[in-house]
């Protein structure tokens, strides 16, 4: 289990959601930067309203690094293995910091591993980060029903994790299919999006389960981490 060696036997899904450079039209890329900018502005504003924003920064940064590292763990789906995106878990743990964290995480992946892209940084951040914020809201519903309960934590973790990935997947596939092949007709496009999304349902379930288990672990060991 190392992170230097990428076995090619895996995960198109997670890779597809890190859309590479050169693939999208410039207008879409610039649009992505605008939406990412707006989401960043929104998140930073919410953060500045928190009780102690300066304290949150080292915490969010180290967790960003931790999430980057954790996302490199190979999760086995025999006969292959995947890397999970964990944007749902990120939302549950980091709250509003999730968006800057994802933006920064993608930035690092782009320049360190050429995974994702620089022109597509905005698009990728929006596609992965906005669902993370939504996952945060989903997970926060737990507070209404009783957050000490482990079953509920697991359930909301599942919804946040699976939901986060599902939304990202649909958004990414929609963008890819509608922009790249200039010569596909509308029915073929729609069919492709459906097909890609359906193919990723197992991964969505896996993300949901994994997120649920981690959430329950954190609830037991360090509930403050889930204060999002």
């Amino acid at each position: 289990m190392g992170i230097d060696r990428y076995s090619p036997v895996f995960q198109e899904g997670e890779k597809l959601m890190h859309i590479p450079d050169g693939v999208l039209p410039t207008t879409v890329c610039l649009g992505g930067y605008i939406t990412a900018g707006a989401a960043t502005w929104f998140s930073l504003r919410k953060i500045s309203r928190q009780e102690n924003p300066r304290e949150g920064m080292p915490k969010a940064s180290l967790l960003t690094a931790a999430f980057l590292v954790v996302s490199w763990i190979h999760i086995p789906i025999p006969p292959a293995s995947v890397h999970l995106m964990l944007n749902g878990l990120l939302g549950a743990v980091l709250g509003y910091y999730a968006f800057p964290a994802i933006l920064i995480g993608l930035f690092f992946q782009a320049i360190m591993f050429q995974h994702g892209g620089l022109t597509t940084l905005g698009v990728n951040a929006t596609v992965i980060g906005v669902p993370a914020l939504l996952a945060y809201y989903i997970f926060r519903l737990r507070n209404m029903v009783g957050k000490e309960n482990r079953v509920l934590t697991g359930l909301f973790g599942f919804l946040a994790g699976g939901g986060g990935l599902a939304l990202s997947a649909v958004a990414a596939f929609f963008i890819l299919v509608t922009t790249i092949p200039a010569h596909l007709n509308v029915e073929a496009e729609r069919a492709s999006i459906y097909a890609l999304t359906l193919a990723h349902i197992p991964v969505m379930i896996l993300e949901g389960v994994f997120t649920a288990v981690v959430a329950v672990f954190l609830q037991r060991v360090k509930p403050e981490l889930l204060e999002g």
Partner: protein, 255 residues
């Protein structure tokens, strides 16, 4: 794990010496200009410009190839569908499938753009130390909190990764074999542990910071001290902007 994209940042070339702020602006503009290109006739020029810049940077070719290998592989895996799906002019048949011209050209366009843009990115971040580039971004207007987060993430990425490796080794030495689905729970505990340890460390780091004055009235707000001094020669580098503009204009005209 090697973040060593700035392994060669110590070399001395005009690109290395260029004021990092101008370099960032120049390269990002050129990168976007490349992404604007949709016409095959401009591709040779893109390749030429990329090649020239790479040569000037004195970065080793092996460095570039190593970094392009995997992403290129994945791009091809994704893009390999294009020749079969996209377009109407059939070039030849491969069994029941037909390879279409438009699809092939699409793939060519995407691939060349991809390689050129990535090359630009590698040059940009390979010819200055990472820290310098982040300071340049801050000087160009990146919000302080994001710049700080980037630097912190960078600082602790290695340590946290080392933590993970150590734990994985310990697990393996106690017989853990990562290939079975039932091990999901163990892997989830591993992930959770990494998160908890990082969180606890961040608490101690925050304390260390406040004890050295973080959050105080007289505090350094970063980016206000002028780290960068530009000379007129730095402006020459902005010829890149003109090159970028040429691509954009070319694309618009041909269209």
């Amino acid at each position: 794990m090697k973040l060593q994209l700035d392994r060669y940042a110590y070399l001395e070339t005009p690109l290395h010496a260029w004021d990092p702020r101008y370099k960032l602006v120049g390269f990002m503009t050129l990168i976007f200009a490349f992404s604007f290109v949709e016409n095959l006739q401009l591709l040779p020029f893109m390749v030429a410009v990329s090649g020239i810049l790479y040569a000037v940077s004195h970065l080793p070719l092996s460095f570039l190839l190593a970094r392009l290998r995997l992403p290129g592989f994945f791009l091809l895996m994704m893009g390999v569908l294009l020749p079969f799906l996209s377009g109407s002019t059939v070039l030849f048949h491969l069994g029941p499938l037909s390879v279409k011209q438009e699809g092939c050209l699409d793939l060519l366009l995407i691939s060349v753009k991809f390689v050129c843009i990535l090359t630009m990115g590698i040059i940009l971040f390979g010819t200055s130390p990472f820290l310098t580039n982040v300071k340049a971004m801050r000087a160009l207007g990146l919000p302080s909190i994001l710049a700080d987060m980037i630097l912190f993430t960078y600082r602790y990425l290695y340590d946290i990764n080392d933590n993970l490796r150590t734990m994985q080794t310990a697990m393996r030495l106690r017989g853990f074999q990562g290939h079975k689905l039932k091990n999901l729970f163990t892997l989830a505990s591993l992930a959770g542990t990494i998160l908890v340890r990082s969180y606890e460390q961040s608490d101690r780091v925050y304390r260390a910071m406040t004890l050295r004055g973080y959050g105080q009235a007289g505090e350094n707000r970063g980016g206000q001290d002028n780290e960068f001094k530009a000379y007129s020669r730095d402006l020459f580098g902005l010829v890149l902007l003109m090159v970028a503009a040429a691509f954009v204009a070319g694309q618009v005209l041909i269209h």
